[in-house]
Structure formats: structure tokens, C-alpha cells
Symmetry: C2
């Protein structure tokens, strides 16, 4: 993250691009030429926190994935007849059984995935990768796989942290990145855009920001959806998992942004209604969203778009004296009826400690002042964000936030810290790869809480995370609502074994379920969180998901293997609540 | 509506309360002592428009329902054994087979219902009426009816205009008004309230407005949900039909206001999640809402509440030169990202003509001026509303609305017209009863449109309505969104026969379906709109509703008889779109 040379010992951070066709080129985050590693002060902090020495950073801990992918031990099990069947649909060039193509869509981006590739543990591989181009092709592939009982998976942006894309039963994986990424129509009157599900976040956003030239529109637009995975995520992935972007406090989660969806299901094409609200029975849009590929393949999405007016943005950052007061202030900001800030992010004391280092505040004269002014390290809480919308609307929210922050004893840190956060907002995953080369693991978990149970959930989950020695657990509140918020936990610890990671992850999820929080606010369920879902939803309630599955995909060929718990063995389910 | 004496002939408007136990006390709207009838200028307009003379108003057209209800020709068919079974659950006093109690819950409030009672046509009657008091009692009643195959209906506020409450298969109807109307808890931290489904709109709102004394809260709150039926509607009715209030442009429809729901279903109690957003599979809250009693009986609802700050309200009204320009202005107001006005109502030229009379603008010096200034009768469009929220937020929306109105050539009519509208907003149904006594029928239909197809739907539906001679069809846009709005059609015509009404109503619904609009924005589907639902949703898509029904209520005892089309004969369904 810093290009400043270290004064003392500097680990051999991997700064060069991974070789083409290598394992590393698959498991590392994003842009092959972008590198991020800890600056010296953070490196020192890591060593002391994790009880490590320079010696631990003299050699890589485990395989760094420099070799070319070789799956000769795992040949494709799909028959030539079926490969020909698929080729007949999309063309010969767009069906692949190559090793690299198969591994490239096998895993998402939870640390469990990265560790397994580093360990060369291939629990799941597709037998063939297909690159469709049109909704009609996808419909034919779904029909073909259904008829021939072939498991079908979808790989959109590949940033799943829930094992959502993992083809645990083999079969076919649709790689949407290459050809299923077109904008189909733009309607400026209704402020909507219709796209293929494989379109990437940046491609969507660039087209909207440049709508005047791209579509001949009157002005620029934005989708307002910016998950941390933005640069390597797809519209389809956002929708089927019910994702949320970092600006969701104003723009809403994707569940608010979607107007209509089209799916290729085993029983045919499904098109949801396209009106903002209606009273025509259960809401089909909200039934299909969250199905995570288990009802069929999402092909097309119509999204609401908003006017893009970054010139009206007001950035802010404040420091509060303690977590309790800061939570109260955040709640007041969300309930005072002045509209919502776009980014709205409050860090707990442990995260504040880390962020002030990450964003270089520790190198400014501000840092020593904070303690003197009563904003004490490991008590103080950093709050940052920015507003969007029409000029006066945006300014008035910032004004109310300033008023409420002041009333709660906070001090303004100007827009400096927010700008620093913006610079790093999409590239923290690169830092993770650098640390993992030396056996330091970082990953995240998140849940929804009400204002009433926020303090308790925060306390309970942190206690469980800290039960592992030498662990940093940082928490922030983001994606806020008048009734509650998302609590986002980031844990950093010395760990380099996928089985150990899975146990640790599972212990934290137990704690989240026991605390009564919603088991996911925006990451979705996938296969990794599936054991907790029925226990959270309730047995009678969960049965709804099962009858929907039986309706759309009675033979269980769509994203099979436990996704959202549908074909999960009973003994793997975790019922921890008295429900 | 006016207490001014007529100068010429005045019809014998019924001004006294209907006798206790009379038919009229059931079919007329609301407060027995409140009366509303047309002022003289409107009476004259009615005569000329409907081609009527004073002679048509010298005697009542048909029965005015003064007699005591007598159902001796329709005895209860429920066995004493079952009556005892129900008495064992709720107590002997709370199971009734009395004529009045049975008719009181048989019909809702569409003109079709009122006409049928005036005609003494009792297509549907419950065999017994039960008055439950707790969720546990409702759960036991659902279990009893399921076990014994007894149809079960629910009567909340009784303002359904879709035959939603009508017990077409007889059996039991739960009258929720008397005892199932309690507030269960209030959470000021989360700004939520949990209530029994039978609570009335005014009881909810009064408690919230007086939260300081009622709950010992820090401030006053509002639910923000004010349908025209507000005074005689129930929370449960709002939720199961997906209702919307007149302030929904700011507060959202009930689908936005509900946080959590509890149902008594044939397969057991169902409790939906209670977080503002989550990524835990299909959204159970949005699956249960819109089920209209067909999956089970809604027992408890947790609603989001907002701060009540009427002192910040900014009222406005404007007159535009024509419908096209006014629609453009409304769209700009909804898309400019400054937040949304609470009431936001734009009338088309025909409605504007009527409203200026209804709100007495025709008696002010303003009226003759409008034409002179180029705002011509039957071209000009009235736009009115008010803003809510934090002081500056509210003021800024009003400021933006003023700016956009001016840019589109509108003239301000100050807050006068909005205030006049507010006075009448909940009591127009009384006017309907007075007119119906003389064979003039008024009723409404509504649908959702996008901005793109709004003009076309408006034109198509009006053309069909006007095909009936001597008809007034007024339209307004309300419940607005950046992507579209609700179009609300009110037709007034000389008609006093339920069969004729049904044919006319059906013809208009055909036109709505053919135009591609959503068949309901907030009235729901019930039994009356059911024939159009599958054609609107699509066959594969509609199948979702059927599998949900099969899951919750496999024996079809919950609100049976075609509600949301579930047990509607195939040959009654109308498929008019190429879907």
C-alpha cells in the first residue's frame, strides 16, 4: 500500500505479475499488475500482534502458486456426446475442457478458496466450461442439462465469499465473463438499463457515467452499486445473492435497485414484473432474488439508474470518543428524516486503531493530538462517508450529520480520512494476497442487526473471534437503516490451513446465529453459510424455499450441492436457536 | 359536502343515521352520523352530464336499505358440533350465527358489493362469525378449520374493493374489529411497533402520534400509511393486499413499511425475519405479503415507524397547462434526487375540472382568471401535495418542486387547494352513498405504469370508460416513483345494477391488461381481479403462487373461491397478452 522503502527488514512481497496460466493468476485478486502490501509501520504491528519475527517473513509460507495449472489428475468426466451437445448450442470454440479454464471457475474468493488452491486441494471442478453469448443459448443449455441430468453452475465475477459458484457436483460451469456481458437497452425516460447478467460492475458504471456519448442521453447516470468486489463482480452475482454496495445507505441494496429479472429455468423462461411497486400477489422479483442459481440461471436484469452528480458530494469524517456514543449518533442520523448519506461507515475502536494507520493518519500531526483531546486509542471510533443527490439535499444531510456528530461529542477530521478510504476502497483484497504469502490470513463475516441488539452482537461475536489467540478483529457498521444496520467483522490472524480456517469460520457463524443476527446482510448464503440458514429462517418458513426449488428445478441440477441449504444433508445443518 | 342550502330543487339526500341493524348501516361508509352529498353546482353538473333531470332525484332509485337485516332465507349451515368446537377456542360469546353479524362481514366496499346489498343479493355469507382475541386463538381456529375442512375468511376493516373478504364458500369468517386490535409492543430504539392485524388505521396512528403519553416515548411518531379507506381499514388488510397510502411517495407502500409478519397457517405458525435487509435466500416478507389470506391468517405485524413532525410540512398546489407537460414535470420531480414529496398528486384535465368544483375553487376569483392566463378548462391539470420530514429536507423538496413547476409553465395556486383536498381526503366514500341513492354510481380502478407507457395507458383506459355514454372518467397520478407511478381512474356514471356494473368493470380491466399496465398498484387482487392475474403474471411465473398455496394450505380452506386466482376455474381466466 505504500511505495516508501522500508527502513528495516522488508519481506520479499511479491510485486511482479503472476505467470500466465499459473495457479496464482487464478487465486490472487484482480488486476495482475496491481500490488498492495503493508507499509513498514503496519508490518511491525503485524509482527507484534501475531507474535512473529522477521524470520517468519524470510520465506513464503506454503505454495505461492507460481506453477502452471495442471489438472491431469482430474480429467473431465463429461462424455464426448454431451460436449458435442453443448457445442451444438454455443459453437465449438465456446466449450472448453482445458485445465486452466476449469480451475478458473472452480472457486470464489473466500480465504478458504484461496488456501485450497495454494494447497492444491481441488474439492470441486467443472467437467466443462461453456461461454454463452445470448439468453437463448443459456435457455438451451439449461434445457440440455436438465434433460441429461448434468449439474449446471454459473461463474459471474467470481468474487463469491460463500462458495456460491463452486461446482461441487462437477458438470458444466457457465463462464459469463467473456461473452455474456452486453448492455441490451437503456431507457432514459424511465431511468432504467437492461443488461446481460455477466456484465461487470465497471463496464456497467462506465457506460452509465458516459451515457451522453454511449447512449446519446441528456445526462450522466450511475447505478450506485459499489461492493468492495466492484471491479471483479458481475450484475448477475449482485442480484442472485442480494448484494449491497458500499453506498447502499442512500442507493439501497441490489434488491432495491433491480426492477426486473429474466431467468432460464428447467421449466422454462421466467420474466418478473417490471414496475416499481404493485399489489398482484407475492413479489416475484423478491422470490427470484436470493435463489443463488438454484432455481435457474439469471440471464437479463433491468436496473433502476440514478443521475450521476459527483459534484454535489460532501465528504466527512469524525472521531467519536467511544462505541456506545457513536452508535447512538449513527442511529440518530438514520432516524432524523433528513435523507441518508451515501457512504456511512462507523468503525469500532479496534478497527479505528487499524484504519488510522492504514490511511496514514498515524503519520500526521493529528494523531498525537487525538489522545490529548480525550479521543483515546482503542476507545475512539472513526466515522466517515459522503453524501450524494441533488445539491441542497446532499448538503443538508452533511449539515445534519455534522450537527448530530457535534451533539455527541465528536470531532471533525475533515474530508481527509474519507478520501484516503476512497483510494483503498476496492483494492484491499490485494493486501490480503501479500499477507497470505507469509501465512497471515484475513477474511470477513457480516450480518444484519437491529439497533437494539447491535451492542450485544458486537460483543458476542468479538469474544468468539478473540478466543483464537493473536487475532485482530475489526468491526464496522455500514449499510444502515432507521431500524438497524449491517455489522461487518474483519478478522486477521496467523493461519494458513484451509481446514483450520473452516473450523474458525464455523465457530464465528455459530456465534452470529446464537446472537440472533441475520446470518447475512449482503454476502448471501452459497454453500458455506448453508448449514446455518434453516436454523435462522425456521423449519416451516424454510420449507418455502424447498417448494420453490421443487417447482423450478425438480431434478436438482441448478447449482446443486447444498446452495442455500436446498440439498444439504440434514446432519450438516446447525440449529442453534430455540425456534 | 356543502351545508349551504340549495337555491333550486334539492334532492332528499339521506342525512340521518341509518337504523341500527339495518342493511344500510352495513353498506354505507363509516361513521353513521357523517353525511356528505353534492353541493348545488355539482348536482347541476351531474344532471347535465348524466342526462338527468330533477325528476330523477325525486325518489330513490332502488332500496336504500332501511330495513332490519333478515337472513332467515339463508340459515347457517355449520353444524352445532363445529360451532361448539369454535366456542371451545374463543368462548361462547365470541361465536355468532346472528343475521346481522353474518351480513356485516360478507361484503367489502366496491360498488358491486354495495349494489348487491341494496339489491338483497346475497351471493356469499359466512355460516358463523368468530371474534378471536389472541394469535393463539387464531392458530387454533386455523387448525380446527383445516382439520374439519371448513372454509376460513378474515374481515379486517372491510374496505376491500376486490371482493377480498367475501366468504364465497361459506364457513367461518373472523371479524377482527372487535377484539383482535391490540398494540403488542413498541420499540423506540428501533422505531418499530408490533400490533395485532385487526388494529384500525386511526387507532394505530393515534397511539403513535401520542407516543409520549401512550408509551412514555421521547417524541411523537407516525406510520405514514393513509389510504383513502384509512378510517375503516385495518393493518392486516393493508399488509396482505400490499396496500399503499396517499403519502406513499415519501413513506413507501405497506410493503416498505412492514418489517415482520406472523401468520397462522394450516401447516403451523410462520414468522418472517425482522431485519430491514438481508441476503438469506428469497424474501419471506415479500412472499407472504400479497397472499391475501390464502396462505393463512395474518396475526401480528411489526411496522417501521417514523418521527411525526407535521410542523415541517410544506403544502403546495400548481396548475399546469396540459397533461403532457404536467407528466414531464412530475417525472423530473421524481428523478431529480432531492427526496420525495409525501403527497404527490397530479390530476388529468377531466379530474381537474371536477376537483376545482369539489374544492370550491369555482367559487373564488381565481377561477375566471385561469382561463384568461392560458390554463384552459379541460386542458389544465391540477397538481397538489405536501412534503414531510426534517425541516430543511422538507423545505428543499418544496423548493425543487416549485422550481420544476415553474420551468414547466405552471402557476402556483398556493396551499389553498391542497388544504381543501386534505379536508375531504378520507370522506369521499360518503358522497358515493348519497349519489347511489339516486342511481348514480362511482367507483375506482387503478394500475401501475412506467413513465414510458403512462400516456398510452391513460388514453386507452379512458377511451374504454368513455364508451359508456354519459360517463365522467377522472384520472390522477399518485404513489410516484423515479420509474413510474400509479394511475388512478375514477368513473362516475348512471348505473344501479350489480350485473351491469360487473360487466363494465370487467371491460375496463380488459383495457388495463391490454395496455400492459400492472393490474393493481395497491388495491390487491381479491376475487374480483383474479381472472386477470395469471394473464398478467405469466403462466410459468404464476405457478409460483400455486406451489406456495399447495405448501401452506393443501386443502384450500384459506380464503377459498378464487382469491388471487388460486382456485379459479381455468375458463374464467382472461389471457389477453401475448405472454
Amino acid at each position: 500500500m505504500s511505495t516508501k522503502p522500508y527502513k528495516g527488514f522488508e519481506p520479499k512481497w511479491i510485486k511482479e505479475a503472476a505467470p500466465a496460466k499459473s495457479y496464482r493468476s487464478i487465486f490472487r485478486w484482480g488486476d495482475p499488475h496491481f500490488v498492495k502490501y503493508p507499509k513498514e509501520s503496519l508490518y511491525k504491528m503485524m509482527k507484534s500482534t501475531f507474535n512473529m519475527t522477521d524470520d517468519d517473513f524470510r520465506q513464503y509460507d506454503g505454495d505461492i502458486g507460481w506453477d502452471e495449472v495442471d489438472l491431469s489428475a482430474y480429467p473431465s468426466k463429461l462424455s464426448e456426446q454431451h460436449l458435442n451437445g453443448l457445442r451444438a448450442i454455443v459453437g465449438t470454440s465456446y466449450v472448453s475442457t482445458k485445465d486452466y479454464d476449469r480451475l478458473a471457475v472452480a472457486y470464489g474468493k473466500t480465504a478458504y478458496d484461496l488456501m485450497r488452491i495454494r494447497e492444491r486441494k481441488f474439492d470441486s471442478l467443472p467437467d466443462a466450461v461453456v461461454f454463452p453469448s445470448t439468453s437463448e443459448e443459456v435457455e438451451q443449455i439449461v434445457a440440455y442439462c436438465t434433460k441429461n441430468n448434468i449439474p449446471l453452475y454459473v461463474y459471474g465475477g467470481g468474487s463469491s465469499v460463500t462458495r456460491g459458484v463452486e461446482p461441487v457436483k462437477g458438470g458444466v460451469s457457465l463462464d459469463m465473463r467473456k461473452r455474456f456481458n452486453k448492455i441490451l437497452s437503456f431507457n432514459e425516460t424511465d431511468q432504467t438499463i437492461t443488461v446481460q447478467a455477466g456484465l461487470s460492475g465497471p463496464d456497467l458504471e462506465n457506460a452509465l457515467n458516459n451515457a451522453v456519448t454511449v447512449f446519446g442521453a441528456k445526462r450522466a447516470y450511475t447505478c450506485g452499486h459499489f461492493p468492495q468486489s466492484f471491479e471483479y463482480s458481475s450484475v448477475g452475482g449482485w442480484v442472485v445473492t442480494r448484494g449491497a454496495g458500499q453506498n447502499s445507505t442512500y442507493y439501497g441494496t441490489i434488491a432495491d435497485i433491480v426492477l426486473s429479472q429474466k431467468y432460464a429455468t428447467p421449466i422454462g423462461c421466467v420474466q418478473t414484473p417490471h414496475y416499481p411497486r404493485e399489489a398482484t400477489g407475492p413479489d416475484l422479483n423478491q422470490i427470484m432474488m436470493g435463489s443463488e442459481g438454484t432455481f435457474g440461471v439469471l440471464t437479463e436484469v433491468t436496473l433502476k439508474v440514478r443521475r450521476y452528480m459527483p459534484e454535489n458530494r460532501k465528504r466527512f469524517s469524525y472521531i467519536f470518543k467511544d462505541w456506545e456514543t457513536a452508535m447512538d449518533a449513527a442511529r440518530e442520523m438514520m432516524q432524523c428524516e433528513c435523507g441518508y448519506s451515501s457512504v456511512f461507515r462507523l468503525s469500532d475502536p479496534e478497527e479505528t486503531n487499524l484504519m488510522l494507520r492504514l490511511y496514514n493518519v498515524d503519520e500526521t500531526p493529528l494523531h498525537p493530538m487525538l489522545d490529548k483531546l480525550g479521543y483515546k486509542d482503542m476507545e475512539r471510533c472513526l466515522f466517515l462517508g459522503f453524501t450524494d443527490g441533488e445539491k441542497e439535499f446532499s448538503a443538508n444531510i452533511a449539515k445534519n450529520i455534522a450537527r448530530i456528530a457535534k451533539e455527541h461529542g465528536a470531532m471533525s477530521l475533515t474530508s481527509f480520512v474519507c478520501k484516503a478510504w476512497e483510494k483503498g476502497r476496492f483494492n484491499d483484497p490485494y493486501l490480503r494476497d501479500s499477507m497470505m504469502d507469509f501465512g497471515v490470513c484475513t477474511d470477513t463475516l457480516e450480518c444484519t442487526v437491529t439497533w437494539s441488539n447491535m451492542a450485544q452482537v458486537h460483543k458476542d461475536v468479538r469474544a468468539v473471534c478473540h478466543a483464537l489467540p493473536n487475532t485482530i478483529v475489526t468491526t464496522h457498521m455500514s449499510h444502515c437503516y432507521p431500524q438497524g444496520a449491517n455489522l461487518y467483522f474483519i478478522f486477521i490472524t496467523r493461519m494458513n490451513d484451509s481446514a483450520e480456517f473452516k473450523r474458525y469460520h464455523s465457530t464465528i457463524l455459530d456465534a452470529i446465529q446464537k446472537s440472533g443476527a441475520a446470518v447475512s446482510h449482503h454476502h448471501g448464503i452459497g454453500k458455506m453459510f448453508a448449514p446455518w440458514l434453516e436454523g435462522y429462517i425456521g423449519k416451516t418458513e424454510y420449507g418455502v424455499f424447498r417448494v420453490l426449488k421443487d417447482y423450478f428445478d425438480p431434478n436438482y441440477n441448478m447449482n446443486p450441492g447444498g446452495t442455500i441449504g436446498l440439498d444439504l444433508p440434514e446432519d450438516e445443518k446447525r440449529f442453534l436457536l430455540d425456534k
